[in-house]
């Protein structure tokens, strides 16, 4: 799966480089220069952002914009440097996926000073002026995921028990939405939140430790829900090491390419998958509409796909395209 991402990345970089070189070498480049859009992304090395950038780039090209992508590599300083550079290039619009909602505020202020409209994608901002915020409906996704887990547990003949939660920081709005949706789904059932641990450094060790603590503290634990996707192995290891494999189920938010097989095998009960490509496309669409003077909703929440073994096959094309940024052929490579 990792190889899949690396290959994909290399291809994208090659593609972009080619497009860029062609564009710069073109004799029309200076005379009929397409309006510029800039995408300030926190870290293009992360698939989620890359997929989103792909979606944005593709839609920008489709709409006749020249999209410049600036990755901050998760550095606030770099993000500001990128911002200065991007604004200096006189863009007609800016898509921002900030390193943090706090940092977004500074970028928005700089953009406002420069008079450049901004669409915020996925990671929100604490303040500042922007055209629209486009993100995933985390609460909806978490709620459906919770319902899926309850159905699965009940299908196993369990009517009660606890569900341990290893959460992303609850200071984030997406973290709060995910928790809220999931707990709402458990209400009225025999299953209750047994405990919640917030991730700090998102390490394997941290997730493993949190999982073990939840298992040890709650003997009636029936499942663990990871609010992130990347440390799913740590949770599986903890269940296994606790001797509870098969007794404690796992559900995750977000997606990893290997989740398709894991769901299919039942290692993972299900996952709530955002659609980054769709977000990127929608961001460019919104900027375009704004530039053209159309009204743009200030907040656009895109649905999260809740995938289980039951609907995996049905959703697989969407998952590849919008979630994983792959096409079916590539995935089969």
């Amino acid at each position: 799966m990792i190889e899949l991402y690396v290959t994909h990345l290399q291809r994208v970089v090659a593609l972009l480089s080619t497009v860029l070189l062609l564009w710069l070498a073109s004799p029309f480049a200076g005379a009929a220069e397409a309006p510029r859009l800039a995408y300030l992304v926190s870290d293009l090395r992360i698939p989620f952002w890359r997929i989103m950038a792909d979606g944005a780039a593709q839609r920008a090209a489709e709409l006749g914009y020249r999209l410049e992508i600036y990755s901050a590599d998760n550095s606030a300083r770099q993000e500001l440097v990128n911002t200065a550079k991007a604004l200096a290039s006189d863009p007609v619009g800016l898509i921002l996926s900030p390193t943090s909602s706090s940092a977004a505020q500074t970028v928005l202020e700089l953009a406002a000073e420069a008079g450049v409209p901004v669409v915020v994608a996925d990671i929100g901002t604490e303040a500042g002026a922007y055209v629209s915020y486009i993100g995933s409906d985390n609460e909806q996704g978490a709620h459906e995921l919770g319902r899926l887990l309850v159905r699965t547990l009940e299908a196993r003949g369990w009517s009660e028990g606890g569900v341990g939660i290893v959460a992303i920081p609850q200071s984030r709005q997406n973290g709060q939405a995910r928790t809220r949706g999931f707990i709402t789904a458990l209400k009225g059932t025999g299953f209750t939140p047994a405990g919640i641990r917030q991730q700090v450094d998102f390490s394997h060790e941290e997730t493993y430790r949190f999982s073990r603590e939840l298992i040890r503290a709650h003997s009636d634990l029936r499942a663990i829900w990871l609010q992130g996707s990347d440390r799913y192995q740590a949770a599986l290891d903890a269940i296994r090491d606790a001797g509870r494999a098969g007794e404690i189920l796992l559900v995750c938010f977000d997606a990893e390419p290997e989740f398709i097989e894991m769901i299919r095998r039942g290692t993972l009960v299900g996952a709530a998958m955002q659609q980054p490509r769709l977000i990127g496309e929608r961001a460019v669409d919104s900027l375009d509409a704004y530039i053209k003077g159309d009204s743009v909703p200030a907040r656009q929440m895109l649905p999260v796909l809740v995938v289980s073994r039951d609907n995996l096959d049905e959703l697989l094309p969407v998952i590849y395209n919008n979630v994983l940024g792959l096409n079916m052929e590539q995935s089969n490579d």
């Binding site: 500001l80 200065a84 943090s100 706090s102 940092a103 977004a104 505020q105 500074t106 202020e109 604490e126």
Partner: protein
């Protein structure tokens, strides 16, 4: 309300104004003090806050600065602005300036004059002007990370807060002053009205109800508060004292008037400096005038009425008193009565006040009519001269019999000097003669009757006795009781001698000196009574000389008288002490022989009488001899018998003896009847 009262300030208004002024002075003063105190505190607190903010902000901001977390440290700034009342907090971010390629990158929050906190925009001239305003102070703090300055933190403060505080204090003070003034004035007005003014009005009302002398008649009402009650009590006490004093003065005046009326004296008040003189009605009355007839009166009024001969004396006495030589001025002068005669008056007076220079100013005195006293003095002087000039002795003795006074005649009569008897008992004059009224008898008579008169034998200083006639009268004392006695003492020696002489003539025989028939009758009755009382016998002997007629015839009547004298003497010598020899005429004698137990008891005497009678008597050269016949009878007898009957019986017995031969005796029978014996 009278004009002056309207002009006087109202206590109520004054109290209200006082309260208002006090509040207006005190509260703002306190406000000013509070302002300066609070200003100092505010400045210090602000400074402390700024320093605290600088330190804490810098500590929190630096990491964020390093992390390029502009919005994060902006959030800290906003939080701090929310907590503190700063004008602005600005952060100059060197990193951001470098990243953005700008000369400076300043962010922060600024507070608008309306108090709204908003993001700082360096391009905003209004905001920049606000930061450079005169009342804004900038406090800067370097932001350092590991010794490298990465930025600068600036906090802008303003003294607007102090001014605001000043304004608040001013408004508070003003509000407090007004509120307190209104409340205090209202309270004071209510309090004053109900607790002071109204009671004072009652107080004044009570004060205004006054009697004719202007003294309040009611007891002044008391107040609730002790200070005012003290006033009431004091005024009540003063009024009581005034009433008491007035009553005392009235009593004194009445007493004085009564004294003046009682003593019936005239009074006068003389202003010596002006001559003005006030007299009372009695003064004018003494000299027969009504006071209205004399007015207006001055000292000249008196002077003109003064007897010319007495003016010098009066003037002398007055000048002596004015000079302080006499405590009182007193003199007796005559004044012209309206009727024309002179009236003796006694003037008494005293200078009561003097001028600053010591000159007599006011003199008060009395004028007493002493005309009667003067007449009495005249009479007394007359009486005194009588007392001294009368030939009878006069002495005054007290109820204890002590001599208090004697006159000259007394001294001449008794031979005592006055000093020798004054203080001595009246007994010094006693003679202790038998048969006189006893001193005790006289004294009892004096004490019971108040007077006594009679004869007493007194003793002169030289022991000589003299008969005196005493007339003693009590002199009543002031209490009506017997005080002293005045004794009028007359020497009656000559009178007594003459009286004795007359007595002798009446009761004694001029020839023989023997008792006569008058004495016989009395002594016989006494002897009869004594014999009856004692159960004894009384012998009555009738003696007649035998041959006496022949002696007269032979030797003459002188010889006969001489014979009778000699015989009488001889017979007296033969008798007992208790016997009585009486010549009843011629040569007839009666002898009373009392104290006999039996008839014969008389015989020795009878026989001695016979013997004596028969003894010869030498008359000149002649030897004369006679005898006697004696008839004797006795008493008591069987029947009742009188003195005359006894003499008659004795006479019968004498004749019987004569008939029997003379020179013998014949005894009558003790019982009536025949003769009992003869010798």
């Amino acid at each position: 309300m009278t004009e002056p009262e309207r002009d006087q300030p109202s206590l109520l208004v004054s109290l209200a104004l006082l309260a208002a002024v006090s509040v207006m002075l005190v509260v703002p003063a306190h406000g000013v003090y509070s302002f300066f105190t609070q200003k100092k505190e505010i400045v210090a607190e602000q400074q402390e806050q700024v320093e605290s903010s600088l330190v804490s902000l810098s500590a929190n901001v630096v990491p964020l600065l390093q992390a390029y977390a502009v919005s994060d440290y902006q959030g800290l700034v906003q939080t701090e602005m929310g907590l503190r009342n700063y004008v602005a907090i600005l952060i100059e971010d060197f990193n951001m300036a470098q990243v953005l390629g700008r000369p400076e990158y300043v962010t922060g929050m600024i507070r608008t004059p309306d108090g709204e906190v908003m993001a700082y925009r360096g391009a905003n001239p209004v905001q920049r002007q606000r930061l450079t305003a005169a009342d804004v102070t900038r406090h800067t703090w370097p932001l350092q990370s590991e010794g490298v300055t990465v930025g600068r933190l600036s906090i802008y403060t303003t003294d607007a807060l102090v001014r605001q505080k000043q304004k608040e204090i001013f408004l508070d003070s003003l509000g407090d002053s007004l509120l307190m003034s209104v409340v205090l004035m209202a309270l004071l007005i209510l309090f004053s009205k109900y607790r002071i003014i109204d009671p004072l009005a009652h107080f004044v009302e009570a004060l205004q109800e006054r009697d004719a002398d202007g003294i309040p008649v009611r007891v002044l009402p008391s107040f609730k508060y002790r200070e005012l009650t003290l006033l009431t009590d004091t005024v009540n006490a003063m009024l009581d004292m005034i009433r008491s004093s007035r009553a005392a003065i009235e009593r004194e005046r009445t007493r004085l008037r009564n004294v003046i009326d009682g003593t019936h004296v005239g009074t006068w008040e003389w202003n010596i400096q002006t001559g003005t003189t006030e007299f009372n009605e009695r003064w004018a009355e003494i000299i027969g005038y009504g006071l209205g007839e004399l007015g207006p009166t001055t000292i000249e009024t008196w002077w003109q009425l003064l007897h010319p001969d007495d003016r010098a004396k009066a003037e002398q006495q007055l000048q002596r008193h004015f000079a302080g030589k006499t405590p009182f001025c007193r003199y007796e002068v005559r004044m012209k009565h309206k009727a024309g005669h002179w009236v003796w008056v006694l003037n008494r007076g005293k200078v009561i006040s003097r001028t600053a220079k010591g000159q007599p100013l006011m003199m008060y005195g009395t004028c007493q009519d002493i005309s009667e006293q003067k007449e009495n003095e005249l009479r007394l002087r007359l009486a005194a001269s009588v007392y001294e000039c009368i030939s009878d002795g006069i002495m005054v003795i007290d109820p204890d019999g002590v001599i208090r006074d004697v006159n000259v005649a007394f001294c001449q009569l008794t031979g005592y000097q006055a000093g020798e008897v004054l203080g001595e008992s009246i007994r010094v004059l006693r003679s202790d003669q038998q048969g006189e009224p006893s001193y005790h008898t006289v004294w009892q008579a004096l004490l019971t009757q108040g007077n006594w008169s009679g004869e007493l034998c007194c003793k002169r200083k030289n022991g000589e006795l003299f008969p005196a006639y005493l007339k003693v009268d009590a002199i009543p004392g002031a209490d009506g009781q017997v005080g002293n006695f005045v004794v009028l003492l007359s020497d009656i020696s000559h009178f007594k001698a003459h009286e004795q002489q007359l007595e002798q003539l009446a009761h004694f025989d001029a020839l023989t000196g023997l008792p006569n028939r008058l004495v016989l009758a009395e002594r016989l009755r006494n002897a009869m009574a004594q014999a009856r009382r004692r159960g004894e016998l009384l012998a009555v002997a009738f003696l007649d000389f035998d041959g006496f007629k022949s002696v007269n015839d032979r030797f003459g009547h002188d010889a006969g008288d001489q014979l009778l004298i000699t015989m009488a003497q001889r017979m007296e010598q033969t008798l007992r002490e208790s016997d009585t020899l009486v010549r009843i005429g011629g040569d007839e004698f009666v002898v009373l022989l009392p104290d006999l137990t039996e008839p014969e008891g008389c015989l020795p005497v009878i026989r001695r009488l016979l013997a004596v009678a028969s003894s010869p008597v030498m008359i000149e050269a002649d030897r004369v001899q006679v005898s006697a016949s004696i008839g004797v009878t006795f008493y008591p007898q069987a029947g009742e018998v009188s003195a005359e009957q006894l003499l008659h019986q004795a006479d019968q017995m004498m004749y019987a003896a004569k008939w029997s031969g003379k020179n013998r005796y014949q005894l009558a029978d003790p019982a009536p009847g025949p003769q009992h014996a003869a010798g």
